[in-house]
């Protein structure tokens, strides 16, 4: 079975790409991912805050209480160097590239423009095959309008594209007034890929302790649908490759992603839940299904159920919503 696909100008042996998670912090895990059949790996994210916070935190704590009291002018030995900011991340990419033969995609997570060019360049120099920009931005300021938020994404994208030659994918959330328009703008601004969608983790409220509780819940196959819909709608309308992330748990999920028009299906939650070997299972399921249904290649099915190619394009639109609502019968 020909599972090959092209993503960000790279030919991948299959469409299963591991998306960012703490698993990639361990190089052995990356090797296991390759062995399990992953076609590419998106590294865990380097967070903008990680770099600034780490510096500020270290500086503040090293200088706290110093040069105040005669007997204790400092409290720590002076280290020769710290692997601050991106240093350890870059080192990790370098080592990963030495260890695995599949493409390694760097991941930057942040919202502000300043400083990312430099880090993106370093990620490229460290050997990353591509870069994924994860713009995790929650616009909470009521004074900030939609175009302002959109420009933030676009400016960031352009800045990074200017700095590096490796392909750049942008990971976005679904909460734009016009997702299609935003995707088109990113596409026109030069994005090589669009990763849909970012899962904005929603905090819970803790009534017992009267606190807001940050909470991470892993995705389920159900969540796939949001991305499936938008990829299907946008298929063939933009130049950039699309990747689906969030809800890819099974071979069937991955195949759905392909038929919607994605070039790759990205997985995290399922691997975290079932282990790295689960990639093998997903690939086997895909092959099995494709053989059973006499497909020859992934290319053959990519976009087959997109809005453009599917038999009932209205299903992706308002008309379908009306139909579903009106036909819904509550369970007894």
């Amino acid at each position: 079975m020909d599972l090959r696909t092209n993503y960000l100008g790279m030919e991948l042996k299959n469409p299963i790409v591991v998306s960012p998670s703490p698993l990639t912090e361990n190089l052995d895990n990356m090797k296991k991912m390759e062995d399990a059949g992953a076609a590419a790996i998106v590294m865990h994210s380097l967070f903008e805050e990680q770099i600034t916070f780490m510096s500020e935190d270290l500086n503040e704590n090293l200088q706290q209480g110093t040069m105040s009291f005669s007997e204790a002018l400092t409290f720590f030995p002076e280290e020769q160097d710290y692997k601050m900011g991106p240093d350890s991340y870059l080192e990790h990419i370098r080592k990963a590239k030495e260890m695995v033969n599949i493409p390694v995609i760097g991941s930057l997570n942040g919202v502000s423009v300043g400083g990312w060019q430099d880090i993106a360049t370093k990620i490229e120099q460290a050997g990353a095959d591509a870069l994924e920009l994860n713009v995790y931005y929650i616009p909470t300021n009521p004074e900030q309008d939609g175009p302002h938020v959109e420009n933030l994404y676009l400016d960031l994208m352009r800045e990074v594209k200017k700095a590096i030659t490796i392909p750049v994918a942008v990971k976005i959330g679904p909460y734009f007034s016009s997702t299609a328009n935003m995707v088109q703008k990113l596409d026109q601004a030069g994005a090589d890929g669009l990763v849909m969608f970012n899962r904005f983790y929603q905090p819970d409220l803790d009534l017992d302790n009267l606190e807001v509780k940050p909470d991470l819940t892993l995705s389920s196959s159900w969540e796939l649908r949001l991305a499936l819909r938008w990829v299907a709608i946008l298929y063939s309308r933009i130049q950039a490759d699309m990747a689906i992330t969030g809800g890819v748990h099974t071979g069937t999920d991955a195949l759905k992603a392909m038929t919607a028009g994605a070039k790759v299906a990205m997985m995290t939650s399922a691997i975290l839940r079932k282990g790295i070997d689960h990639i093998n299972t997903v690939l086997a399921e895909m092959t099995q299904w494709m053989e059973a249904h006499e497909y020859e290649s992934i290319a053959q099915m990519q976009g087959s159920l997109s809005q453009r190619n599917c038999p009932n394009p209205a299903a992706f639109e308002r008309a379908n919503y009306m139909k579903i609502i009106t036909c819904y019968t509550p369970n007894a």
């Binding site: 770099i51 704590n61 090293l62 706290q64 040069m67 105040s68 009291f69 030995p77 692997k83």
Partner: protein, 1192 residues
């Protein structure tokens, strides 16, 4: 050879040489020498080689005694070995030093000479330590400046190999050890040229080796010992010549010529002083100045003090010398004279008697003491000595620099006399420790010295308090080398980085006429004048100061620097002073910022750069009015109603003029009144807690954890509050027994440090706004006056009846008045809550033997001290002996108490008939296990004393003097982990083995906190500390487990932040146990590297991760057939990394050496697991049967 010119302090300059010409260093921290060991350890961890291309081994020992012994061993086996120490540390080395010298072993001990503790401890500089070691047989080589200290270090290492006599190389603590000065740095090639490998080989060949066995360390008898002791004489006789040859060789290699005794001054001088150390620099400056004015004076500077070469000394003097003034920086009470004086007098008189005196007539020789404990030694004082020497009848023994109005030893001086060169710029900066002033000034010194090409000197004076501490930076720079080894008193530039200082003391008293004054002011150029006190306004006008202001806080905040105004103020200094072209200065500052902060990340560099760029545009010159208009002046240091002692003594120190106090004002034996911190209103907190009486549940947790004793609670009857100030807060008391009373919580607004631990401890949340607690931080300034009035009123309210309080409840303990309050400990200190708790529970019958360290500094450093007394005048009796002996010191106290109690009981029995049988019987059988029982016994003792007064016999008088011992007393030896785990462990072990009723509180910060965070045996695996720069490789010593093995020792491990009830219970049980007790208390610390507001949370994490299991081992339970060991916490449920990586001491290793950090984390996890397995096993042991077995 061109050698780099660099700015560094004396410690670094010396360590740089010692490290490169040694193979082994055995070290132990002690101020002010710790930095030398720290440099050596750091260089070792960086893999820096010595001149033979190998990385020296630096090993930290458990005490200076251990370090000296390890040095002895390393020397005996052939390594080139060194060590660094000072003060009491040197005293602990003395036994080994006799051995090392007795065996003619080449070695160099580098000593930043420091005062020995006598009537008080002092960390500052004088020669009392080295003079105490002068009989060891070590050579003694003195240096007086940073450059000399470096040079003499190398000369010492070279000479010792040739002479086979070990050397103490010493330089003045702080004045030289911590002074930053520009020096020519010796290069490895210089060292190679100076160290003769043949002599190194000879040293190795003399070493012990099984390949050529010899025996040393014999025991000798009267028949040969004396004779053998004299066998070393030729070596001592040869030594001075060898040192001179080494100095000559140094001159040939490096170009600087030294002599055993260097003479400076007029060739035909008639008055010559003799001295050594940094004072010689000030003397040289003074003599240069006065000789140019025609004075016939000079000085002989002693370099080699031992072996003492009388011939070389006499040769150094001009033949014209008529009066010799010998200056000793030490005191030997009761001696005929101080050591240097005696040596000089002997040399001169002996030469005269023998007919080989160089002098035409026998000079008069007088001797004086100066500069003890870094007391200033200025040109004015030096001139006064020469003036005294001119007199017909000068004082034969004198002091200078103090006002001795008791023994009249002091000679007076004219403080206005100055030799400061007009070419030298002198700048004074007053800052807070927290604002970064010193760090910036150290960088400025480097810029001026290395970029601007000036000679530059920086000396920094710090506070004795660890929170809200003031720093004063003294910077000099100019075209010529700077030898002014004294503080600046005439500054061309004065900067005050904290506006509040203007009201506290006379900031401008040292401003020279026409000087520039830079003030960090929240008030603008048009309004600042009205906010200055009269004294400041007057000086600005009279001295014609150029006055500039900047709102440094505003600029720093805008640049993202928080309260760190250092960069802003530094930029202004360069801009206004015009010492460098402005553009070059800005570039140099930015480069210096990059060098300092670059490795911590670009974010920090960018913020500092932004501060630099913004600073100048916010700088304003103030137009100075022609008249003083202020309506207020510098406020009194202590309130008018403070006790007389405070006014007569303490106030002067608080006003930065303690040096003006005469001898008559000094306690003769180091005895001071307690309870003095209450009179020093420091007002260092920007925010203080405010109580919300509506939602408070009155649990007392905030009061318990308050490290500074500023949160107080009382319960009073409602009618008592009739005259309360308006708005005075109270709530219905939530106690059954005080149901109708009012509960009050009050904060001491001017004593609070703003640490906010109380807010973290509060378990209550406001239902409408859960971000608020029952106690919340609010701005101090707007409520200061109101809260001051409330606090004073609160103090006037009656204290709770201690007999009515349940001592084991947190809720009740808050009602007990702390007898340890308002200490100068770090804001949020993790130790002081335990100390305060003990003072609350037992303070009125408490003896404290305090080990030297943080707790002795915040507990006993002048100007004010926190140990207090109650309304009856009772309170803790506190003393600090040494670092190493607190357990034994406490044991001595216990022995006294037991003995005197026994004696009192014997006397009661003897006088029973006169006292009355009932009273006597009650006195002898009193139950004193409860507060009520103790109170009853106090009343009995009072009754007894009345009867004894009436009886009036000799025995009755004796009993009256010891009767107080009939009331139960408690003894607590306290200290940190450096004391308990390391230097004092031997004594501690003996004391807990003694069976005596003594209590030991170990405040375990897992590091030597007071000396700046050196590794101790309490440091956990993986934590970075000084002397463990690569993370501590081994596990933490389990002191509690070791103590438990005795079986009869009460042992508890506590953490107040994790379980406050457990803490109280353990301390009560320890005190109640009639045998030795040791309580090991987790103490979060600034040296752990995180915001201490999270200290309590970290204590919880420490327990939940299994790093710090809570337990009690109570031998008393054995008698009840119970297992004495109780594990008082749950099985570890938190990953260790979730605890440790909140702290920089662990986290920094993940940034510098991630793989090593990961491996040490694994080891630390294994430590936790193993300890838990063992403790679980112990907790399950069955007791009461013959075979104690663990149950599953």
């Amino acid at each position: 050879m061109t050698r780099p010119m660099r700015t560094m302090d004396g410690n670094e300059a010396v360590a740089n040489v010692a490290y490169q010409v040694s193979e082994v260093a055995a070290i132990y921290p002690i101020t002010p020498s710790s930095n030398m060991g720290e440099w050596a350890d750091q260089w070792m961890s960086e893999g820096r080689p010595n001149i033979w291309g190998t990385v020296p081994t630096v090993v930290e020992m458990q005490s200076e005694g251990g370090a000296a012994a390890a040095v002895h061993g390393a020397l005996q086996t052939g390594s080139l070995t060194t060590t660094f120490t000072a003060s009491q540390g040197l005293l602990l080395m003395i036994p080994s030093m006799f051995k090392i010298a007795g065996e003619l072993t080449p070695a160099v001990f580098h000593i930043s000479a420091r005062t020995l503790a006598t009537h008080a401890l002092s960390i500052f500089g004088d020669h009392s330590d080295v003079m105490s070691a002068r009989s060891t047989g070590f050579g003694m080589l003195a240096s007086g400046s940073v450059q000399e200290a470096q040079d003499m270090a190398l000369i010492a290492h070279a000479a010792t190999l040739a002479a086979r006599i070990p050397f103490m190389h010493y330089f003045d603590g702080f004045r030289t050890s911590h002074e930053e000065n520009k020096i020519e740095v010796l290069q490895p090639a210089d060292m190679r040229a100076m160290i003769d490998d043949q002599l190194v080989f000879a040293h190795r060949m003399r070493a012990m080796s099984p390949d050529r066995p010899v025996l040393r360390g014999t025991a000798q008898n009267p028949d040969v010992f004396f004779t053998a002791r004299e066998a070393c004489n030729p070596f001592y006789e040869a030594c001075p010549a060898i040192v001179q040859q080494t100095m000559d060789k140094f001159a040939a290699v490096v170009g600087r010529q030294y002599h055993l005794f260097d003479y400076i001054g007029a060739p035909d001088a008639e008055r010559v002083i003799v001295l050594m150390g940094s004072g010689a620099e000030a003397a040289a400056e003074t003599i240069d100045y006065l000789v140019q004015k025609g004075e016939k004076i000079g000085a002989v500077i002693v370099r080699l003090y031992r072996p003492f070469s009388a011939a070389a000394l006499l040769a150094a003097f001009p033949k014209t010398t008529k009066v010799i003034g010998v200056l000793d920086r030490t005191k030997e009470p009761g001696a005929a004279g101080e050591p240097l004086f005696m040596d000089v007098a002997t040399a001169v008189t002996e030469a005269t008697i023998n007919g080989n005196s160089p002098f035409a007539v026998l000079p008069r020789i007088i001797g004086g003491r100066y500069g003890l404990s870094s007391r200033e030694f200025t040109p004015a004082m030096i001139k006064s000595i020469f003036d005294e020497m001119r007199k017909e009848e000068p004082k034969r023994r004198f002091t200078v620099g103090i006002n001795d109005d008791v023994s009249h030893t002091s000679i007076s001086y004219d403080p206005s006399f100055s030799t400061e060169s007009p070419e030298t710029t002198r700048a004074l900066f007053y800052g807070l420790g927290a604002d970064g002033t010193v760090g910036a000034n150290k960088n400025s010194i480097k810029i001026l010295g290395e970029d601007a090409g000036f000679y530059a000197q920086g000396y920094f004076v710090y506070d004795s308090r660890k929170s809200g501490s003031m720093t004063t930076s003294h910077l000099r720079f100019g075209p010529k080398p700077i030898r002014s080894t004294y503080l600046i008193t005439r500054a061309n530039f004065v900067a005050c980085h904290q506006f509040s200082f203007m009201e506290k003391f006379d900031v401008l008293r040292c401003a020279d006429e026409g000087a520039v004054f830079l003030l960090n002011s929240i008030y603008g150029p048009d309004e600042v004048w009205d906010h200055l006190p009269k004294t400041a306004q007057r000086q600005i006008i009279e001295k014609k100061l150029k006055f500039f202001i900047i709102n440094g806080f505003e600029v720093a905040k805008a640049a993202g620097m928080g309260g760190r105004i250092n960069t802003v103020m530094q930029t202004c200094f360069f801009y206004i002073s015009g010492v460098m072209p402005q553009a070059a200065a800005i570039e140099a500052i930015k480069t210096s910022i990059k060098n300092t902060y670059g490795k911590r990340g670009d974010t920090i560099v960018q913020k500092n750069w932004a501060a630099v760029d913004m600073a100048v545009e916010h700088l304003h010159e103030v137009k100075v009015p022609g008249t003083v208009t202020s309506t207020f002046d510098i406020r009194p240091a202590v309130p008018a109603h403070a006790p007389e002692f405070l006014h007569e003594f303490t106030a002067a120190i608080l006003a930065e003029s303690g040096e003006t106090l005469p001898v008559s004002k000094m306690p003769v034996d180091g005895t001071f009144p307690t309870g003095t911190t209450q009179w020093e209103k420091r007002n260092i907190a920007l925010e203080i807690p405010e109580w919300d009486e509506e939602i408070c549940i009155q649990c007392g947790k905030c009061a318990l954890v308050c490290p500074h004793g500023v949160i107080r609670a009382k319960i009073v009857e409602e009618e008592t509050l009739a005259d309360a100030p308006e708005g005075f807060k109270s709530a219905r008391a939530k106690w059954k027994e005080f149901a109708d009373n009012r509960y009050i919580m009050q904060i001491a607004p001017e004593d609070c440090t703003g640490c906010a631990l109380c807010v973290q401890a509060c378990p209550v949340k406001n239902k409408q706004q859960p971000k608020l607690r029952a106690i919340n931080m609010v701005e101090q300034a707007p409520i200061r006056d109101r809260e001051r009035e409330r606090w004073n009123y609160f103090l006037s309210l009656p204290e709770v009846d201690r007999g009515a309080v349940k001592m084991n409840l947190v809720k009740d303990v808050q009602l007990l008045r702390p007898l340890f309050e308002f200490s100068g400990a770090c804001a949020g200190c993790g130790e002081t809550p335990y100390v305060k708790l003990i003072s609350q529970l037992f303070g009125d019958r408490l003896y404290v033997a305090n080990a030297t360290g943080c707790s002795s500094i915040y507990g006993g450093n002048l100007p004010t001290t926190p140990w207090a007394f109650n309304a009856d005048g009772r309170g803790p009796a506190w003393n600090n002996s040494l670092f190493e002996d607190a357990a034994e010191f406490g044991l001595g106290m216990r022995v006294t108490i037991d003995k005197q109690k026994e004696f009192a009981e014997e006397l009661v029995k003897r006088l029973e008939s006169q006292i009355g049988g009932t009273l006597a019987a009650e006195l002898l059988s009193a139950e004193q296990k409860t507060e009520a029982g103790i109170q009853a016994q106090r009343e009995r003792v009072a009754a007894l004393k009345e009867k004894l007064a009436a009886i009036g016999t000799g025995e009755a008088k004796v009993l009256a003097h010891v009767a107080d011992f009939l009331v139960r007393k408690t003894v607590w030896s306290m200290g940190g982990d450096g004391w308990a785990y390391d230097i004092g462990y031997g004594g501690l072990d003996h004391v807990i083995a003694s069976g005596k009723d003594i209590n030991l509180l170990v405040m375990d910060t897992e590091v030597y906190s007071n000396t700046g965070g050196q590794c101790s045996k309490a440091t956990p695996r993986g934590a970075v500390a000084k002397f463990a720069a690569g993370g501590k490789p081994g596990s933490k010593k389990d002191l509690g487990l070791i103590a438990m093995t005795y079986g009869n020792v009460y042992v508890a491990q506590i953490a107040m932040g994790a379980n406050d009830s457990h803490t109280i219970r353990a301390i009560l049980e320890a005190e109640a146990y009639e045998g030795p007790s040791i309580v090991i208390a987790y103490s979060h610390c600034i040296a752990h590297g995180y915001n201490l507001v999270m200290g309590l949370e970290q204590q919880k994490n420490a327990v939940q991760s299994g790093h710090w299991p809570l337990y009690r081992f109570n031998p008393a339970l054995k008698a009840e057939g119970k297992n004495p060991f109780q594990l008082d916490c749950k099985e570890p449920a938190l990953d260790l990394d979730k605890y440790i990586y909140n702290e920089t001491r662990y986290k920094m290793l993940t940034l510098s050496q991630p793989e090593l950090a990961a491996s040490l984390l694994e080891g630390a996890k294994e430590d936790v697991a193993a300890r838990w397995r063992l403790y679980s096993y112990l907790a399950k042991m069955e007791f009461g049967s013959e075979n104690e077995t663990a149950v599953e």
